[in-house]
Symmetry: C2
Subunit: 356 residues, 2 copies
Amino acid sequence: MIAGSGLIETLVPRIERVVGRLPRRVFVLTSAPIWALWGHSVQQSFRDAPIVLFLEPGEKYKTLASVERLLRQMAQAGGDRGSLLIAFGGGIVGDVGGFLAAIYMRGIPYVQVPTTFLAQVDSSVGGKTGVNLPEGKNLVGSFNHPLAVFADIGVLATLPDQELRAGLMESVKAGIIRDRALVRFMEAHAQDVLGRDPKALEKVIAASIRMKAGVVNKDERESGLRMILNLGHTVGHALEQATGYKALLHGEAVAWGMVATLHLARKRGTISSQQFARLESLIHLYGPLPALKLRAAKVIAATGGDKKNVGGVRRFVLPIGIGDAGVVEDVTPAELEAAVGYILAQAGERGSRQVS
Amino acid sequence: MIAGSGLIETLVPRIERVVGRLPRRVFVLTSAPIWALWGHSVQQSFRDAPIVLFLEPGEKYKTLASVERLLRQMAQAGGDRGSLLIAFGGGIVGDVGGFLAAIYMRGIPYVQVPTTFLAQVDSSVGGKTGVNLPEGKNLVGSFNHPLAVFADIGVLATLPDQELRAGLMESVKAGIIRDRALVRFMEAHAQDVLGRDPKALEKVIAASIRMKAGVVNKDERESGLRMILNLGHTVGHALEQATGYKALLHGEAVAWGMVATLHLARKRGTISSQQFARLESLIHLYGPLPALKLRAAKVIAATGGDKKNVGGVRRFVLPIGIGDAGVVEDVTPAELEAAVGYILAQAGERGSRQVS
């Protein structure tokens, strides 16, 4: 993992430091909007132009149908087992690219070049790759680690504000579950961070990646500890599913999911009322979060299909104070209703654009 | 790997010896014809009936479309990360089942119960799983090892004769590349083997599996040694592709591919004329091989897209005497034409049913 500026203009020598000489066929998976902005910079360091594959932007194209189309394009272009794939884009490009590399000819090497804040702190650590099914998000995939990750902070200059704010929710999460100092920094320096001050952004990204890498390295297969990275995801996924994966950014859904979880944690006493107020404020500081026009029953029903449920048990990650978290399996329907009811009421009062 | 009789009637206790207690949801992937014959026996040892998923028989259903349908059925049936998948069928069921298990929720445990001779000796060792693309066979997949393999010789009783003979080509291959004693046994006991004498079958299966496991264990990722398992596959795959994956059984295609390879090896002098005659006779002893009505140019063109070609080089596995083999990368177009020409001529003279 290398984070810094000016990385994409010097990609080839950086990759060759890892793989030796580039193979005959190099594929770049990207999306048209990001390629229009940065494709020229990426191509600067290539002697022979790479084969560029496009994925339509948006969660609705994170499907096996897209995967099949792209695999066929790779085969038609003569891709072989020695070919290299570079995933150049946001989280979806990274997830699909990593999955393509995992299954094309039973595995080819790949490199991640994440271009959103979220992808830089999230998708590029842990080796999770995959696509959605109509039945739920990320139900298909592999654990497949890239040979290298290059996180170029310069690319964030063109990131829409809403996406930056949604991405920063990953860092808020990192702080809540493992890094009290990061919580303090994000409270004190919200203006610098949201103003894209490079120093401030680099600090937040580095701390977030460090936290995630630390957790993931201790628990590769997500059997135990790694679960805590799913703080806010049980309700967050349910919100995404209930809104058809279209209206909410992942970080926005997780943000509301974290508020629901904080509510549950306060009720159970694993955080105090003061801690609740402080963390809820932090989340809204990096908002605004969207308003939600949803029935509670629909959201609650959608929590049933979560991937974290082994043997049908509904698992929940709960913060313990600030900087620690644990997993519980005994959340009652009443607790879940109360937590979901709380965020739906809050979303009515504090939410910005309306989402249904 | 357990090979023997009466295994499928006692599957649950055998699996539980490996995984502990069965999980809540157990999926069995199978095909309707094999399930009609043996489903009742398989279900005997289950307390709760498993969820049975069907794959239509035939190479044309070994597709990502089938994979997507099956993954969705698993999600709809509430499959989670703790669920177990049992692949009960021939090689295609094994390949698709192993791939489903590799990518459903980024991996669930699975068990192979191969029901054809070929699958018992071939697909159940090495962890190769996957499906075809229109551009070529097995272009998509994973390396994914089952928790256990149960090869029940009793199930072979209902295997069609043509499939048994095609499967035995794997054993012929095993003998040629690594096991001179197996070649001698198969020469001397062809009647017993083809007559399905359990002792003879078990001996051939055990020797074939032992050979393959020995090679694969030394070379998990098919970077070097494991290549020799592809004896006959460069031309074999080309024959399958040129006939649209419909007319030839895999073993039949590989058998003609091996004859082509023997021709090439004799010309290069890595086997003698006597060895050529002996091995060619052995292949036909376990025939009859189908006649091929194909243009040589079409077959030769189809050798270009082989997965074994890293960086565009056409690799060929050549026998060295009887019981050894090596990989060459410098086969000339003229040599390839001569080898393909030889089998097309032979197939005209010696072939049985005609395939085009």
